[in-house]
Amino acid sequence: MRADMTPILHVRGLARRFGGLQALGGVDLEVARGEFRAIIGPNGAGKSTFFNTITGLIRPDAGSVTFAGRDVTGMAPDDLVRAGMGRTFQITSVFADLSAQENVQVALLAHARQSWRMWARAAALHAERAAELLALVGLAGSEARHAGTLAHGDQKRLELAIALAGEPTLLLLDEPTAGMAAQERIESISLVHRVARALGVSCVFTEHDMAVVFAVATRITVLHQGRVLAEGTPAEVRANPQVQQVYLGESVIAEGVHA
């Protein structure tokens, strides 16, 4: 098998202004296939805007996004997903009124382009695959539970299963461990890491917790005031004086995994 050398994600000069605030001031990013890329930065660095611009929620003022060799700048979310880009949200985003099983089925049906079928019984379709995906993220036995009644951590797992149902080649995770206790965070990101590895999915994730970042990231991009401040391996980024400057007072960077 020959490795595909095209970057899975190539962002060039991405810019976006909100009124007087330059949220993104020309961001470049290149992510190779198989990477587990962390995007870090202090609050207001533009991480969420960056994510939302790549995934079609926000239109960029300038710049381009190339996904697996294809220009997808400004493409609508549903088209991006069908092209193979999956995402999860900082604020957990599942279908609360549906069962866990149905949550995944909706995604499987859409992926199979069956969401327009009006006569078939949905319950019978993709039930096995949905159960498999739930088991993969550790939710076996919770199939019939209403998603809204699941614990926060389990909803995050469910969201991962929903995203995986679309068989993405790239998964963008916006603060996948937000709202979790420290121990749970490492477990959670390890699960994402393990599953992504097993399925060959490249990942880009934003994260506040440096322990989580250093536990799994292959490379790290540091955003600061809407620009890329630094990029490199975890060791390079940790040793970067500019990064230490930005995170002044947050000794976590220097301490790394011990945080």
Partner: protein
Amino acid sequence: MNRSRTLAVLAALVAAALPAALSDFWIFIAIEVIAFALYAVSFNVLLGYGGMLSFGHAAFFGVGAYAGALMVRKSGFAPEAAFALAPLAAMAAAAAVAAVVGFFSVRRSGIYFGMLTFAFQMLLYTIALKATGLTGGDDGITGLKPPGALARPAVYYVFALATVGPALYVLYRLVNSPFGITLRALKANPRRVQYVGVDVRSHQLAAFVVSGAFAGLAGAVFALSSGNVFPAWLNWTASATPIVMAVLGGVSSFLGPALGAAVYVVLEVVISGRTEYWPLVMGVIILALVLLMPAGLTGLWRRRGAP
């Protein structure tokens, strides 16, 4: 056995036995219940499943009623053929109007969606009122009479049941289909559903058209039974009817709105026969029912039936 199926079997048994037990007057009321049951259920496909509150659904009921009436009155076909085609004409006309109204309305959500449906309804109401040559204007279209034996209430009752029953089954299949589950997901989280690869607007529009078409069918079934159509059927006050019926019966159950329709129609008949202040009494009763049973009549049932 699930709740909807129990309710459906029960309703079918009662419905089949009814004409033998009722006077012509009550058979006529039963026909009204059947028509409004379909109206309320079709409305609830939007509200209960798709999370879209239409303030203008009477427009589709009204358009269907006029289309059915015009087919019978003005098409020039033999009476039997015209009558047989009336339900189809009603569905087609209502679907076409719903496609236009829906095309613009689904571009907005929540209260703005509601306002757009409201505005289109006022437009259609004005057309019904002013296009005198076609609609009879303020006088409406009156004196419609089904051909042959269908003019007898007991026979028309069977026709109404045979039309509405399959229509309800089609809608039941729809809400349990991949499209139906996608609608529920869309109601639960419209942003997330985009990120499983669903185009939100086109699915909303399709639901709107289907809902409008069946509301139109309900309008025709009712119009040909009552023998007339009036522009007031499209007025904005008329759009409250399916909302009240659906909420009364319960929006989270498929047949809840049908039960709501039955309760509403029968209450209205019973109370209006006793006092001229019937809207006041109706209002108080509905207020009490909604306050005591926030999940509707079927919600009460479910709570009791839940393990």
